[in-house]
């Protein structure tokens, strides 16, 4: 009980900070818009080409936004000299991990929804038909990205050259998540049933579970001194 409550307090504190400063969300929102334009410039206005590349672009944009957004949650603690406060919190540090993970999940889910909506509008893709299966894929993908991102973000916030190291650590580990989400999104956008990509969803779920367990168990070693 205490565990869940402590995680909730971390989540609530960060949500409140975000609501008042709107730092991350605003920046990420415009970053998503910029990415959309960059993709368009890189690929040209050919609609078929864009549609074919859409699932890959969507998740690439999502991961790029994650590289900017995920590292921040712990950086903020350091900048505001709150790191010691987190360290001194009694009890299992896994609760802090879960709280931060929940913040990152909500942040990245918001980014995913915005990105998806923008893609729908700018590239003229009908998303309503596949909204329910897409949201499952987005859920699994966001948990996968946020779970590793939270762990590595806490780590790299204490390191020199963090903006270099964070992607270098996160991206190779995220390969299964990227492959799974892109393949599943591809199938869903083609109108296939989720059962057709069940193996990808299972892989994503398994990856999420492994990352979560490793994150909860090893976080106390990251949040030391």
């Amino acid at each position: 009980m205490m565990f869940a409550r402590r995680a909730w307090i971390v989540l609530w504190k960060d949500l409140l900070t975000e609501r008042r400063s709107k730092e991350s969300l605003n920046a990420l929102f415009f970053f998503a818009v910029l990415l959309l334009f960059l993709f368009e410039f890189a690929l040209g206005p050919d609609r078929e080409r864009l549609t074919a590349a859409l699932p890959g672009l969507l998740w690439l944009g999502f991961i790029l936004a994650g590289l900017l957004g995920l590292g921040r949650t712990f950086l903020v603690e350091r900048e505001n000299d709150c790191w010691e406060g987190l360290l001194l919190t009694p009890g299992d540090k896994g609760a802090i991990y879960l709280g931060k993970l929940a913040v990152n999940f909500l942040l990245m889910a918001a980014v995913a929804i915005v990105l998806l909506g923008l893609f729908g509008i700018f590239y003229n893709v009908d998303l309503w038909a596949s909204l329910a299966p897409l949201s499952i894929v987005i859920f699994l993908g966001t948990v996968g990205l946020a779970s590793v991102g939270t762990l590595f973000g806490a780590m790299t916030s204490q390191v020199r050259a963090r903006e270099l190291l964070f992607p270098l650590l996160l991206l190779p580990v995220q390969v299964p998540v990227l492959l799974g989400t892109v393949k599943a999104t591809e199938a869903v956008l083609q109108g296939l049933a989720l059962a057709e990509v069940a193996h990808w969803l299972k892989l994503l779920a398994a990856a999420d579970l492994v990352y979560l367990v490793v994150g909860i168990l090893t976080f106390e070693f990251v949040l030391e001194a």
């Binding site: 190779p172 393949k183 490793v214």
Partner: protein
Amino acid sequence: MTRWLGWLAALGLLAGLAMGFGYAPKDAVQGNVQRIMYVHVPSILTAYLAFALVLIASLGYLFTRRTGWDRLAHSAGEIGVVFTGLTLVSGSIWGKPTWGTWWTWDARLTSTAILFLIYVGYLLLRGMVDDQERGARYAAVVGILGAVNIPIVHFSVLWWRTLHQPPTILSPERAPVSASIGLALLVNGVAFALLFLYLLSKRLALRRLEEEIRA
């Protein structure tokens, strides 16, 4: 001890070369190019051994906090990256005349390349943390996550695509290779294992000296 290991490894490698070029028959289809397998396969097996050691040593460090475990993880990680690189390069050299291309996005090539990148990140992390003890902790966490991620990467990339022949050594069925090729591979495998142990003990000694200088 280290010196003896070095001589043993050198002898083993010489024997391996002799076996690979002299004793083992020339491949009927691929010709002499196939002989690169005697470097390629032992390299990747050695790399797997090294990364398994990284996992064990990382767990050992987090549980006991003994610097010895961290030294072992660091040294094994470095050697593992070298041997993974050797695997990729030797595979490329073999692939050009055989497949007609240096690189294809085949499942096993891709997952080996990702393995390489994960552990390069692991080594970079070690270089970027100033505090010794904190670096050891962080590296241990990355070492564990990297290792448990290997099967997930493997399956994701396997389902993504495949062209590489099924593994000959680590497969449940009996290996479909002739006895002489198998023997040449075995000699090379033992030689690479000796080489690994030699490099590991050298690197461990070097790490100890580095720590002395720092202290």
